[in-house]
Each structure stands twice: as structure tokens, then as C-alpha cells.
Amino acid sequence: MTATDSNEASGEGQTVTREELDSVVIRFAGDSGDGMQLTGSQFGATSALMGNDLSTFPDYPAEIRAPAGTTYGVSGFQVHFASKDVRTPGDAPDVLVAMNPAALMVNLPQLKPHGVLVINTDAFTKANLKKAGYEANPLEDHSLDAYRLLAVDITKRTLEAVRPHGLSSKNGARCKNVWTLGLLYWLFDRDPAPTTQWLETKFKKKPDIAEANKAALRAGHIFAENTALPNGIHPYTVPKAELPKGTYRSIDGNTAAAYGVVMGAKLAGLPVMYGSYPITPASALLHHLAKLKHMDVTTFQAEDEIAAVCSAIGASFGGALGVTGTSGPGLALKTEAVGLAIGAELPLVIVDVQRGGPSTGLPTKTEQSDLLFAIYGRNGDAPLPVLAAATPGDCFHMAVEAVRIATQFMTPVILLTDGYLANGAEPWKIPDLDAYEPFPVTFQTETENFQPFAHDPETGIRRWVKAGTPGLMYRTGGLEKADGPGNISYDPDNHQAMTTMRADKIARVADSIPEAVIEQGEATGELVYVGWGSTHGAITQAVGQLLGEGHSVSHIHLRYMNPLPKGLERLLRGFKQVVVPEMNNGMLDKVLRAEFLIDAKGVNKVKGLPFQIHELVEDAYQRLGVNHEHSNVIAMGAE
């Protein structure tokens, strides 16, 4: 948290002096059953409503509810809120809320020096300490002395607060996350009203639970207000950020991608048929779309990913927009069918929400390791466009783009997002929808001289025929087709021509996408970071910092991975060093090297976690030969 100024703020009826901070990172951590995801997202939503810029990062185990008290069962949620531009959930938390010893064990190493530590003492039992791997109770052995400790028996306080509402003590204790939220709301000057409302809606059918939670929220708030805070902890406030004018909402990547698909379909004038099979972290795409039956969206929960993609291909054959979404292992199963869509020249949108691999890997962790698979992962010469969203909100726009390219170029398109984008939320300025140029699909209806696989000589694109159209009955499939009539053809020259046509068509997508640009920094210089996907935030903040320090660093961010945008080579050649930060073991660097024969290097992090800003800053220091000790301005003082 970065202190700026002190000001006066008024708590409930009482005047409080609040220290003004321009940025705070809080991590909520507890058992899977402790409701940390809810707590964190409520804190985020409230902060967004209060005008902060923010970024959030949920980090939870693959088990639904791992056994209580274990380190692998710890569920975390980090919120970074600020009065300035925020692009990442923050490197190290300023505040750690640890609901039990395991949460402390796992998360303390990341807490900033002298950071604020909120602890539920009730959970620090012998058994829990042992489960977490503590030999001694850290609350007693002074090992936490370096932090600003706020140790409260949260369970007890919560039970006191909810007692009037007649909950069992088991149910009552469940409200302790909300009590804690109340405490932090007071501490950081958040308005509890939106959460109160949210509780009322959520527990509409269980009014006693709603009331108990509301009481807990109030009680936590009041507790903070009335308690002498330990040394070094003051009430804080984080003023509004200066954001572009507009109406905002909070959005995560899966919601944005789902809505983007619907938006794209509207622009194309098509109904959506979304065929999918649940898989973490992509399932929410299905959940969101399943709710939109009144928006010409049909969802089909298929028996597996193969059936999912096949149903989408069938839908495209039938004249709807076929869409499917999945994550790595599911993409693996779809590869054969994607080849069919390429051969049949049918539109298809595939959203791949990447997660840690190989194989089942780290299902709930983020990674960018499907890039080469997306580009090259099909038998035969089977090119297709690959796009990548950079931020949660960008998923909306890139999904629209995926629909545009799929329908305009009669091709499957893979849109890459990842677990971090999918689950991370940010305040999102609702875009001006009228600014989107429609790209209506005009189906073939002309029966005269009809040839289902006649290709526009300029573009190599065939016209879409909706099965069911009178007079245009045609047959298609996965065998090579005669250019024009589309009948099966084993003719050698035809196969060569069709292969070239398919490759050229995808290459020409580059004509319809924005040229490459420098997002930050000068057009030429010492070092350029070329990012793609969710590394956007970390690179932006790191390059921002480096530029502020006067270094020659620039930032290019790719949203179109295949074909690459025009002008990229020229831009890259403007720099002595081309460096590609990726959450994989080196992929985009390979593509750039092969394409441009430029000695692109990778900065690779394969930990299931997004880059931290300091990691990139330090990488840059090293590449720029900057003395590290000297320049280390990144550890933002807590006081």
C-alpha cells in the first residue's frame, strides 16, 4: 500500500482520521470452506463501485473442499484496489487475512515486510497448527513480530453477533468471513451497503441467514471502529481513481468472452449454438450462455468435448454460429473435428481457457502453454486464425473479433484466454455498442451456377450455404474437395491448389486486423517486451515503471497470434533486444524467430501464477545492465 496523504473521513457518526493510500493489495486466505472467494469478490465489487480501479486474482485448489486445515486446501483471493491505474492483482500483499494456520503458512512468505496481518485466533488450535506444519504457535513465538498483527477471535465475535438470529453454531460460524469483511470495510473505508444488498438478494429464500450475515458484517465493522487498533494500523482510505468517463461494471474474462460471443453473433445476425462440456476454468462460459435463452442462444451440454465441437460444427452447417469453449485437455480432444471444420470451410469459434499442463496438470492454475498447440495442433496442413485476449474486459472485444473472422473467412478460429483472465475481475467501462461495425452474414441463396465450393478468386473464401435452403442441396465433409463443385477429389493438382488456398486465406486475415503498434515506450530503442494474453497487466506496469525510471524499454502486445499483425517485423527490428515474457516454457519466441529470424528471447514462468511486476522489472535491469541494488525502487513502503 502506497501512502499519499492523510485526510479526515467520517465513520458511523464519528470522525476518523484516515491515512490516504493510493494503492492497496489485500489477500484473503482460508480453508476452501471459509468463503474466501466470496469475501474477496465482495471486497472487489465494493471497491469498484466506490470508484477504485482494481484487479483481482482467485487462487484455489482443484478439490471442491479439501480437508479443513490442510495447506493444500487453502483458498486465496487477492484484491488490488487503487486510486490510480491498476493492471495486476499486485505482487506482494500489503494485507494478509489468514483465517487459519494453513493459510498463514502458505501465504505469509508473500506478505510485504511489515505488512498488516489479520488473523482468526480461534483457528490456531493445536490440531490445526500441526496440520499446517507449525511446530510452535506463531501467535506466541514472536515469529510474527515483523508484521503489524491484528489477531482477533473472529469465530467467537461472529457467533456473538449472529446469536440473536438463531443459527446453529455451525451455521453461525460460517458468517465469520462476512464479519471479517466488515472489519476490513471499516479499516479501508468501504461502504457496506452494496454487500448488505447482495446478501439480501443471495439469501432471499433464507431470510434468517441473510439477517445473520448482515449482523456479522455490521459487527465486524463496529468492532474495528471501537477497538484500539494495534500499533501501526490506522484507518485508511483509498480515493477514487481517475478513470475515463462512462458506465462501469465489474467483469471477469469468462463473462466477457461469453457476452462477446453473443455480441459477435448479433453483429453477424446469427443465432448462437454453444456446444460445450464442462471443464475448469472454462465451465462458466457455458453457465453464462445457458442463462441467455432469450437472446437467441442455444446451449448444448454435450457428452464430451468431441461431441461439443461436433455439435457446433453441425450447427454451423445448419446456419447458426457454432461455438465451443474448453480448456487444454478438451482442446486436445477437439483437434480432429477442428480439422473437419477447416476442410469443410465452416465458421466455428473455439474458446480455449488455458490452464496449467501438461495433461490434467494444474486445473485451477493459469498458464499460456497452449499457444503452439492452437497454431499447429492438427493433422495435415490445417491453418486457422488464433487470437488472444489481453485483459478480462478484452475478452469481450476479442470474442467479437473471433466471430467476425470465423464468419467472414469461413474458418474455425481459436480464441485463447487463460485461467487468470477467466477468473480475474476488473472494472470495465461498458463499451459503446453502436461503435461496433456490424458484419452481417449473407447466406448463399442464388441457385444459378451454384457451386458450394466456389472460392472468391480474390479472397479464397467460399459462400456460406445454410442447410435447408431450397435449390442449394450440397454435400461436404473431410475428404479433399474439388475446388468449385466440392465433390470428392483425389486429383494431385487440386489438392495442391486447395492446400495453398487454405493457407493463403488464413494469411489474408492479416489484412483485416489492426497493424502492430507499440503500446508503451518509444518506437525504437534498447529493449522491447512482446507480450500476448494475460501478461498484459504485468508487462504494462513493469514497463511503466521502467519508463518512469528513464530506461529504454517498450511494450508490444499481440492479440492476433496467427496470422501475426502487419508491421510487426518492422517494429521488432527497431530494438536491440526482443524479449517475450510468457507463462510457458517458450512459445511465442519460437514463432517470432521462425517468422522473422529475429533473436527473440523468452522470460518464462511456469508456476501456475501470473508474472509479478518486479519479476519483469528485474529481468529488464539484467538485460539493460542496470545495477540491481541501486535501482530497486519497487518495494513499495507499507508506511
Binding site: 463501485l49 470508484g51 477514487k240 478513470l243 475515463p244 468517463k245 462512462g246 458506465t247 462501469y248 461494471r249 457476452y259 453473443v262 443465432p271 449454438m273 456446444g275 441467455l292 435463452k293 432469450h294 437472446m295 442455444t298 448444448f300 454435450a302 457428452e303 464430451d304 468431441i306 461431441a307 461439443a308 461436433c310 455439435s311 457446433a312 460444427i313 453441425g314 450447427a315 454451423s316 452447417f317 445448419g318 446456419g319 447458426a320 457454432g322 480432429e336 473437419l340 469443410a344 461498458i430 463499451p431 455498442l433 442447410a467 435447408g468 435452403t469 431450397p470 435449390g471 442449394l472 442441396m473 450440397y474 454435400r475 461436404t476 465433409g477 473431410g478 475428404l479 465433390n487 470428392i488
Partner: protein, 336 residues
């Protein structure tokens, strides 16, 4: 929806494409093709309202020969693709053409799921008990002991019985025919009429890799002694001389073949009840070399695609249309 046009307006040839048929001379597929074309002409679905989806195999080349919409897709996936076609365009009559390999080996899972979901598809399984297109390996319906290139010492896999599988999967329409049967196109007409998934197994002769395996059952001379065509409500009589029948065994409660005469009369025979799933189970695999043809099982039900459309309509009726603008502004928003 069954958009039809006046009877007799359509002829069989209206359902033929301009492509040469590329099956081996003598292949049973020709007769099935003819049966489907005849059935389509009879039900009067205009060719542009018909879509035929197939997988891969000799049988799966079928769509190329039909003057309708056709999708010769990938191996085993036709039911899934067909589901998408039907969901996108409910006006279409969607047929699935598949083989014993395509539909029951690689494609068994999709078969299970379209049947249990009851998607309104007409599924024809060309069962030649062999992989034709890949040159004669044994398939999931091949009898034990069969010597093929992949089972040089005889296959040891217990075969699946397609009609029983279909019943186990919860199918609402299960029928069986054979390639050269004159009754075949009538069976397809029934399949077409059924709302929901209709499963029709057709025993099909592969002249090249499995010639004659259905000879006894399908042969003009001997066939009638080795097969029975069941008709709803009618007693189960068969035989060239109509001298044999099927009754419920008083001992076991199951169907058994009996000779008429010697105290056993037509009244003792079982009358076919299409809605009786246990009888269908028995009929699906009779002992003693008897094969049952016809509609073995049929119960009405709600087609999956109809339920999908209903739900779309209900939500729309209840909530009205939602615009994109409204969607994005749902929930908490704030102005800056």
C-alpha cells in the same frame, strides 16, 4: 416439424445426387440407398429439407449419393454433428447414416447419448459385421472366432447386439431390417414418423469382406424360415408355410419359437406389443437362428430438440427479449 409436399409429387430420383455411386458392385448398400430414396419420396419431404449426416466407412459415403444436404463427417461423430444440425435448424429432417464400426466402435458414446436424449434423428446403422472401408478387420458386431486381417487366429471379442444396446441406452424407437428386404423403405417411413431418436439396424451384405453372413436370414428362398417380421398387435407367425410362431414360454416367461399344430394354435402365440420393452429385449436376440425384423420397440416421448425449443420459447415468453445493452448493464454498474 414435418413439412411435407403433396403425395406423389416427389419421385425417388429426386433424392439422387449427380455423383456416381462408388460402392463395390453387389454391395448391400445400394439397396439401402434405394430404400431411403423411396421412403423420402413417399413421405414427401422436399430434398432441401433433408440433411444426411454420416461418419466414415463405406456406408458413410451415403450422403454423396443423395440429392439432399449431406455431411460426410469424421469417424464416429455423426450423431453429435447431427444434433447440432437439428438444434440449429429444427425444420430439417436429419438422418444419421453409420456403420457397425462408425456407430458402435468409435462412435458408441455419441450413439448412447443421442438415444438417451431422444434427439429427433433417424439413425440407420449399416451392420455388415466388418470394417469395410479399412479392408476387413472385425468390428464390434463380428461373431467370435472370425478370422480377419486383425484377428488372424480368430476374434475373441464378444459382439454387441445393437438393438439391445439401443434399448439399454433408453431408445424410444428400435427397428431392424435387412438390405434387400422389400419392407425396408416402409421401416424408414416409420422411423421418419417417430418424434425423437429412431434407431434402425439394417443387416447389410459386404460382398468383399464378409460375403454371405446374412445369407440364411436374408435369402429369398430360406429367409422366411429364419426370420420374422413383427407387426404391432399381430400374432408372431413366420415360416414359408406360416407354420412357426413365437410364444411366451410358460416355463421361463420368455419368448420361444414353437411349431404350430400339435395343440399349439395361433391363439397361443404372442402378439407383438411395440411398447413392451422386455419383449423387445427378447426379440432383439432370439435363440435358434431366428432374427426378428420390423419395429421391435416404439414408445412416444418428447424429442430433445423439441424440449430445447420449448425452453427457449418459455424463457423468451417469460423474460422478453434482452438486448445486448441490457445484458451488459445487468447487475451492479456505476458511473464515472
Amino acid at each position: 416439424m414435418n413439412a411435407t409436399i403433396p403425395a406423389n409429387a416427389l419421385k425417388k430420383k429426386d433424392f439422387a445426387s449427380d455423383q456416381d455411386v462408388r460402392w463395390c458392385p453387389g454391395c448391400g448398400d445400394y439397396a439401402i440407398l434405394s430404400g431411403v430414396q423411396k421412403a423420402m419420396a413417399e413421405v414427401g419431404a422436399p430434398p432441401h429439407q433433408v440433411a444426411i449426416v454420416s461418419g466414415i466407412g463405406c456406408s458413410s459415403r451415403f450422403p454423396y449419393y443423395m440429392g439432399t444436404y449431406g455431411f460426410h463427417s469424421i469417424h464416429g461423430r455423426a450423431p453429435a454433428i447431427a444434433t447440432g444440425v437439428k438444434l440449429a435448424n429444427p425444420e430439417l429432417h436429419v438422418w444419421v447414416i453409420t456403420g457397425d464400426g462408425d456407430g458402435f466402435s468409435i462412435g458408441g458414446n455419441h450413439m448412447l447419448h443421442v438415444l438417451r436424449r431422444n434427439v429427433d434423428l433417424n439413425i440407420i446403422l449399416f451392420n455388415n459385421e466388418i470394417y469395410g472401408l479399412t479392408k476387413g478387420q472385425y468390428s464390434p458386431t463380428t461373431e467370435i472366432g472370425h478370422v480377419t486381417p486383425s484377428s488372424p487366429y480368430g476374434s475373441i471379442d464378444q459382439p454387441v447386439i445393437p438393438a439391445r444396446f439401443a434399448l439399454g441406452a433408453g431408445a424410444g424407437f428400435v427397428a431392424r431390417g435387412y438390405d434387400v428386404a422389400k419392407e425396408l423403405s416402409a421401416l424408414f417411413v416409420e422411423a421418419h414418423a417417430h418424434q425423437g431418436a429412431s434407431f434402425v439396424e439394417v443387416l447389410q451384405n459386404c460382398v468383399v469382406f464378409n460375403d454371405g453372413i446374412f445369407e440364411e436370414v436374408a435369402n429369398k428362398k430360406t429367409g422366411s424360415d429364419h426370420h420374422i417380421w413383427v407387426k404391432n398387435g399381430e400374432p408372431m407367425i413366420f415360416g414359408k408355410a406360416q407354420d412357426k410362431g413365437i410364444r411366451v414360454s410358460p416355463k421361463t416367461g420368455h419368448l420361444e419359437v414353437v411349431a404350430l399344430g400339435d395343440g399349439i394354435t395361433e391363439d397361443d402365440l404372442c402378439r407383438h406389443d411395440e411398447t413392451n420393452v422386455e419383449r423387445a429385449w427378447d426379440l432383439a436376440h432370439m435363440e435358434g437362428g431366428l432374427t426378428a425384423f420390423g419395429v421391435l420397440y416404439r414408445v412416444p416421448g418428447v424429442a430433445y430438440d423439441a424440449a430445447v425449443r420449448q425452453q427457449l420459447a418459455d424463457v423468451k415468453a417469460q423474460k422478453g427479449n434482452l438486448t445486448m445493452e441490457e445484458l451488459l448493464r445487468q447487475g451492479h454498474t456505476w458511473d464515472v
